[in-house]
Amino acid sequence: MKARVHVMLKNGVLDPQGEAVKHALGAIGFAGVDGVRQGKVIELDLADGTDEATIGQMCEKLLANTVIESYTIEVL
């Protein structure tokens, strides 16, 4: 089975990279980009039957830093 973990900076945490991307989009002529947030997508190839709670522990322990990041799990 596969799962996909999305890791994003929490709302309220300034994302300097997202800001830079936003400015770059404006600079090449895309008007109306009000905000850009950059995150990570991590694809996991897992033993069949791995439960979502276990994937949650992976996120809590390693894949995300929950001080600044939030995550969502998508079982594929």
């Binding site: 309220g12 945490v13 300034l14 300097p16 990279q17 830079a20 322990k61 390693l62 894949l63 830093n65 001080v67 600044i68």
Partner: protein, 222 residues
């Protein structure tokens, strides 16, 4: 005083740290990240700068899961001293020994220069060789030194006198210009600037020496 310097794949300030501690009189042991235990009788663990595990995933995240880091956490929980510099600071926040997190510099650029650093408290062994308000000249070299703490944590750090150092001028976006923080028991210090790079006349400055001397004196006395 017996000190351990942790070595991860990608550490690059480990030898400088060893030299700085030895110069102050410490007996220094280099400890590989796969070791599960610290050498017997270690007073201080130093987690050095560098790019442990290539900074993959997040700076310090993979190092924080290594076997030796569990021993470092046990050492800290038993009241031992821990100093994390640069990547070492990132590792200590990832282990949870220090609060907050370190993000990409607000200006997105790697900063490598010598900066003015203000000592904010004398109330820790690490900073007892300075006076609060002293300005030190210490090198920084980092890409992810932007210290993030929410409003309540930032206020708590100030209330509890746990901000050890501040940048004298904004450098990397850190909240309240925080450059170094102490644990609740004041025995764990994480800081982005490199005191071990300011310990010899040939470095240009020796402002970092007082930290290592104070650490050695405190643990000899104990």
């Amino acid at each position: 005083m017996r000190a351990a310097v942790i070595v991860f794949p990608g550490s690059n300030c480990d030898r400088d740290m060893k030299v700085a501690l030895e110069q102050a009189g410490a007996d220094v042991h280099m400890v590989w990240h796969k070791d599960a235990d610290l050498p017997e009788g270690v007073d201080l663990v130093a987690v050095p700068g560098g790019f442990s595990f290539g900074d993959y995933l997040r700076c310090g995240a993979i190092a924080a899961q290594s076997p030796i880091c569990q021993a470092v956490v046990r050492h800290a929980e038993a009241g031992g001293y821990v100093l994390g510099v640069c990547n070492g600071f990132q590792v200590l926040t990832e282990t949870g020994l220090l609060p907050g997190a370190l993000m990409r510099n607000a200006g997105l650029k790697f900063v490598s220069k010598t900066i003015d650093l203000t000592v904010e408290t004398e109330n820790s062994v690490f900073t007892s060789g300075y006076r609060a308000g002293d300005t030190l000249r210490i090198p920084v070299a980092h890409h992810d030194g932007n210290y993030v703490a929410d409003t309540s944590l930032a206020a708590r750090l100030v209330d509890e006198d746990r901000v050890a150092f501040r940048y004298s001028a904004p450098l990397n976006g850190s909240v309240d210009n925080i450059a170094g923080v102490l644990s609740e028991n004041r025995r764990v210090l994480g800081m982005m600037p490199h005191p071990e790079r300011a310990i010899d006349a040939l470095h240009g400055r020796t402002d970092g020496q007082a930290m290592f001397r104070a650490l050695v004196e405190a643990t000899v006395a104990a």
